[in-house]
Subunit: 370 residues, 2 copies
């Protein structure tokens, strides 16, 4: 150990000697050049409230990872939705430079441009693992070319896995049941469901259980067993439909203000990238581990698990295809990313149906026999 | 930026003042205490050859991530199987301190103790995402209590996803076809298949294609489409069975020599942990992205895709249960970890069969209609 330390000191001494020349030339002080790890303090605003403790927890875990890997020299302070910016405005706050970073679901910004949605999840898109694979195989590059127009760069940093379809006061048995349904749902799925007669509702998380209970809404999509149990949604409706065809695997993204990203040292960029990726595994693992116990509690409390009928799924799939075609016709960014993702999806499921799906199928059968 | 730098310098000056007292007391020099990031050079020996370029690639990506996040102060040199230690001996090399780290599949060490297998994958165990979830929810702790006896600590650092069952010169149609089958397979699966009459074979990767072609073996399990295609296995056999029920998701582990781990600074421990986790996502994403094109090439070249018949799967499941019971009866470490994982598996598939499986099922059906 001592030898390498001495080597390090010598190298640093040499460096200061040459850095001194450069510094004199550039007119800045030597330490500024020498510093690959300057004391840096950033703020991160989350799209999620503290009560979604695995989603906002991802922001906390990420910030802790960055601090620990830099001997506390690079500190990022995470704030839940509402403290610095509203949850739906987190991405804007990073783009405008109010904060250096946002952690959020990109589909909160679809009203600005539907193209935003692809980063997190789109209806009948990819499952969680495929979304990661797509992000690292061309998808992330396309997305970031688009996000750059909004002055941010995105990194994959968490996933909930496939979500549940939500809580319904009355079971859906056919597509016509969607007509007039007051359903709390957002993003592209709301546009698609509107084609089938749904009247999309916006209700904040804390008000969901009572809105269902009082019948001011007929149904509500939230996340999955772990978060839905904590939100008490079973109190308002007992039919728990699945799957959320609009979120096969919701990838949570960390957005960094583009100028701030470009100004980071290479060392800090590496730390930030790596910490995002490690948070990505962390959140998915936590959700996967936490959901079964919550599911048991919900079923024990009277939740009735109901798969969406195939006819309903088919009607939604058709509505989704129509929205993809219509939006692609008028939005070149959307079309480019949509075409790329959907081609990727076709290849992924060609392969997925063999080993992965074959293994899961057998294990589910074996479990039901045991 | 300047203000925080000045703050940093002031803090550091304060630190040296107090550190000086501590250093004098402990009899060591101040810089040794101040250094959270000393120049450090390690070696990593991989269980995989360079030709398995996503598996060994994981070692390269990990080492690069560590170097980049530490301004090249912590450098780890990755070596493929055979350069420093044989692939099957990588874990031993780390435990014995020949090298600081190994990157490998833990089931390469089952001959020493079958308990090793649980870290990577066991027959009819978990899929890739569940293996991550188990590792971070008690499984990793149990494993590392066991691995500590062998002087290493393990970190999740990659996954191939569910593998293919392998290449067979003759299609398996019933359990009796396993009798006398010369099948290149290792680990716990070999013991289980031996109960059904299989004669397990050991053949090195580069010799597999010709061993199949010449009929010195009847069948061979390797990895999945991407690696199998490069290994030219289709030249030797054209029936491609799936799934590999013995590897629902093979988690690749980075093992660190326990003394070396304990001697690392907190900063370097954080960097190492984070770099392992980011490599974990990287490898799975790369495999997921690369497999479809390879599968198309293989099918184009004449590979016949055949799911293992349910009767064969059932016979193997029974043999596996017998081996688990027999081994648990005589190995307390094995029993403890096996019971924990199998209880976790039951809960995981209780949940998985709803949203995740429901989404995949619909997407596979929709794709076949398109």
């Amino acid at each position: 150990m001592r030898e390498t330390e001495i080597g390090g000191l010598m190298r640093r001494r040499d460096f200061f000697k040459t850095a001194g020349l450069g510094a004199a030339a550039a007119g800045v002080t030597a330490p500024a050049i020498a510093q690959s790890m300057p004391e840096t303090k950033w703020r991160l605003t989350s799209g999620f409230p503290r009560s979604l403790d695995l989603l906002f927890g991802g922001a906390e875990v990420f910030c802790k990872a960055v601090a620990e890997a830099t001997d506390n020299k690079f500190r990022i302070e995470p704030s839940p939705a509402g403290e610095i910016a509203a949850g739906a405005r987190a991405l804007d706050a990073a783009g405008e430079g109010t904060v250096e970073m946002a952690q959020t679901a990109s589909y909160y910004s679809v009203d600005k441009d539907p193209t935003f949605a692809f980063g997190t999840a789109v209806p009948f898109g990819l499952n969680g693992r495929m979304q990661n694979a797509w992000f690292t195989s061309g998808g992330g590059e396309l997305l970031n070319a688009f996000y750059a127009k909004h002055k941010v760069v995105a990194f994959a940093a968490g996933n909930t896995g496939c979500q549940m379809g939500g809580w319904f006061r009355k079971e859906l048995t056919q597509p016509s049941d969607l007509s007039g349904l007051k359903f709390r749902i957002g993003g592209l799925a709301a546009q698609m469901l509107a084609k089938l007669g749904v009247v999309p509702q916006q209700v904040a998380g804390p008000d969901l259980a009572s809105a269902l209970e009082q019948g001011t809404i007929d149904a509500a999509a939230w996340v999955g067993p772990y978060d839905d149990d904590k939100a008490g949604l079973l109190k308002g409706a007992d039919t728990y439909h699945y799957p959320a065809w609009w979120e096969g695997g919701a990838l949570i993204l960390n957005f960094v203000n583009l100028d701030r990203w470009n100004a980071l040292t290479p060392t800090y960029r590496a730390v930030l990238r790596t910490a995002c990726a490690s948070t990505n595994v962390w959140m998915q693992s936590k959700y996967d581990a936490a959901n079964p116990a919550a599911l048991k509690r919900l079923v024990g409390g009277g939740a009735r698990l109901k798969q969406f009928p195939d006819e309903v799924m088919d009607a939604c799939y058709k509505a989704a295809s129509d929205v993809y075609a219509e939006t692609s016709a008028k939005n070149a960014d959307f079309k480019k990313i949509c075409d790329h993702m959907m081609a990727f999806r076709g290849d992924q499921y060609l392969w997925w149906q063999l080993a992965e799906y074959g293994f899961d199928t057998y294990m589910i059968k074996a479990r039901s026999r045991a």
